[in-house]
Symmetry: C2
Subunit: 358 residues, 2 copies
DNA sequence: AGTAAAATTTTACGCGCGTCAAAAAACTTT
DNA sequence: AAAGTTTTTTGACGCGCGTAAAATTTTACT
């Protein structure tokens, strides 16, 4: 009854390694190792003796067996899954950062699983439900922000080891990793002020993302520090179609000539892309050369901002640093059993990218 | 021994529904239904009597229990997972179509899982490995194209019910759903020719995507049909950074004045975005108005093409039709046991979007 | 060679659920 | 009310693997 198979019994005669391995039992038999040891090998190849490891790996080449992931996850207390949640995957910024995070997870032997909330709180909640179902070792989450169901996120973070990134929600998750908005704005404002008229600040009246608020605050304090009068232009619109909102808002201020200066600092690149589109439509030449009546700058270094007309001067995220540190923090969190003694916030500074628009 | 728990034994006294349910056994106990019947309910709520269903759902409200997904998938012969593979998620076109496909899958009670190949064949192969591991009911795959490891994809499609979309690989997968490239090109060429000089065709010398070849062929046959002399401009560059490739190529042809006509038809929008960026840099005014020396059009209706300067005239995919039909085809395939009698190819026509660039 | 330490094998149980067959109970029909 | 039909319950097995304890083998070391 269930006695262990011996090599000779499962040998495939003249087929030479064509036998299909159904489970770890059979694979252990053909590799001449006991199943528990094989199991140990798959959990950590270095935990078995070298000669054992080599025998397993030899068998692995011949029989291509892979442990059933569902059986593994059912029995392990912690899976190797890592959830990644971004608010809006159609934004190349998030696609890019998700890509870097995925790669780092894979390199460390984890299985990243990517979710997008598509800008909708209901989907964000669904994603958290899906995440609970897969019992991840940890989660890296960039929340929607203002629209998020705060209590749902809070409850989630209490159950699942979570590191927030990009967009901070006070007190939630075991840590936050993001960009230092003050660094972004101080560099753009300083540069614009040094090379021309001081900028007005162009943003949505009801931004979905908490970074927007920090950027406005930073703008105001920067202008005060420089002894300049701030001007904040708030445009209408809701949702995640920032380019269109920026375009409509841009058409509005250009038509009504509401701009107090010849220099516009947009809260983020996607808004700026829309604003530049509006300038083009209105025949307003943008840039710092002669013949140009307007300078436009922004924040984020969105993948497309290099290709706007004119190319967009902006403050760049340190994508690599943010994703590296977020992943590293999550790994530390997992090793600490899912809890930190205190919540940490890590902010990375921006790098000014000077292009043609300002 | 393992005798069934009765309600009274698991009642939580005065806590009123706070007891944590560990498994289906316990949930069956508190709902007063046997475990096999509860199991049946979760597989198909309509397969149990109405009164039974209501008792289960009442208990569900009080105790929020969810079956362990790993145990389910281990025992079911077919999971409810559906794999979605796109070649490059940082391209908003794919992010958009992935979003639509995800939604359709969820609505039908499946669990979509999204993978991006990030433009690299090695990752595409890794993704197929990951997909095998999760034993999906079916897979919707947009392959990399020319760079794909064809034999790996072929082997994969033989094991897993797969529908290809966007980019066709002859004979692989049980079906293909995509756009009709001829429809795209015939509309743009016809329009450009009717409203001005006939276009030259601007493309990469070694396009990664098979649609590019079809578009060139369509351009040539269209020009022949109209009795016009075709001009194909092939630019260098490799990889998935199409905008930068288009920009470099654009700078090249503008500097060397290689354009045979004042009208350029780009193979795709991302190339066109780069080309427009080059025009801007070179001070070439693009559009159909006076003062403009160049017209530019393209194909895809990329999410950003509305915001280029000037906005891009292009031929739009029928995103909805392609994703609808791809998902529907996959569901039919799953119901047919994973095989079709013959491979079908479904192509959807384009819609011309006239904007400012041509 | 002898002994202790480390690694492996045996043996056995458990995870949470799908699924089956037979028995019991609940509805339906005339 | 009896017979027939549908649904549920009971009891049991299996899925593929993690894991623990005890027995055994291998390795390292004095």
């Amino acid at each position: 009854m269930a006695r262990r198979l011996r090599v000779s019994e499962v040998s495939d005669g003249q087929m030479g390694g064509q036998k299909k391995i159904k489970n770890m039992e059979e694979f252990a038999a053909v590799s001449g190792i006991s199943r528990p040891t094989v199991s140990k090998y798959f959990n950590d190849p270095d935990s078995v003796r070298r000669s054992t490891r080599e025998r397993i790996e030899t068998a692995l080449e011949r029989y291509d067996y892979r442990p059933n992931i569902y059986a593994i996850n059912q029995n392990r207390r912690l899976t190797k899954n890592i959830g990644i949640v971004v608010p809006y995957l159609a934004d190349p910024f998030f696609a890019e950062i998700a890509r870097m995070i995925e790669r780092l997870c894979i390199e460390s032997g984890y299985r990243p699983i990517l979710f997008s909330s598509h800008g909708e709180p209901a989907i964000e909640n669904e994603n958290m439900d899906s995440l609970r179902a897969i019992k991840p070792a940890g989660v890296l989450m960039a929340p929607l922000g203002r629209a998020s169901d705060k209590s749902a996120i809070d409850a989630f973070c209490r159950n699942v080891p979570t590191v927030l990134f990009d967009s901070n929600i006070e007190g939630m998750g075991e840590a936050f990793v993001g960009s230092d908005n003050h660094s972004f704005v101080s560099q753009t404002v300083e540069y614009l002020n040094r090379t021309g008229e001081p900028p007005c600040f162009f943003e949505m009246r009801h931004p979905v993302n908490p970074n927007a608020n920090k950027r406005r605050t930073a703008y105001l304090s920067m202008m005060e520090m420089l002894g300049l009068e701030p001007h904040v232009i708030k445009i209408e619109g809701s949702g995640w179609g920032f380019e269109e909102i920026g375009r409509q808002g841009g058409l509005g201020v250009l038509e009504k000539k509401l701009l107090p200066t010849n220099t516009v600092l947009c809260s983020n690149d996607r808004l700026a892309i829309g604003f530049l589109s509006a300038c083009c439509e209105k025949g307003v030449r943008v840039g710092r050369g002669k013949g140009c009546s307007l300078r436009v700058a922004s924040h984020d270094d969105h993948p497309f901002s290099r290709f706007t007309c004119p190319s967009l001067t902006t403050a760049a995220h340190d994508y690599a640093a943010v994703s590296d540190h977020a992943v590293e923090t999550l790994f530390r969190l997992i090793e600490s059993g899912g809890r930190f003694d205190r919540r940490t916030e890590s902010l990375f500074p921006a790098r000014l990218i000077m292009r043609q628009s300002a």
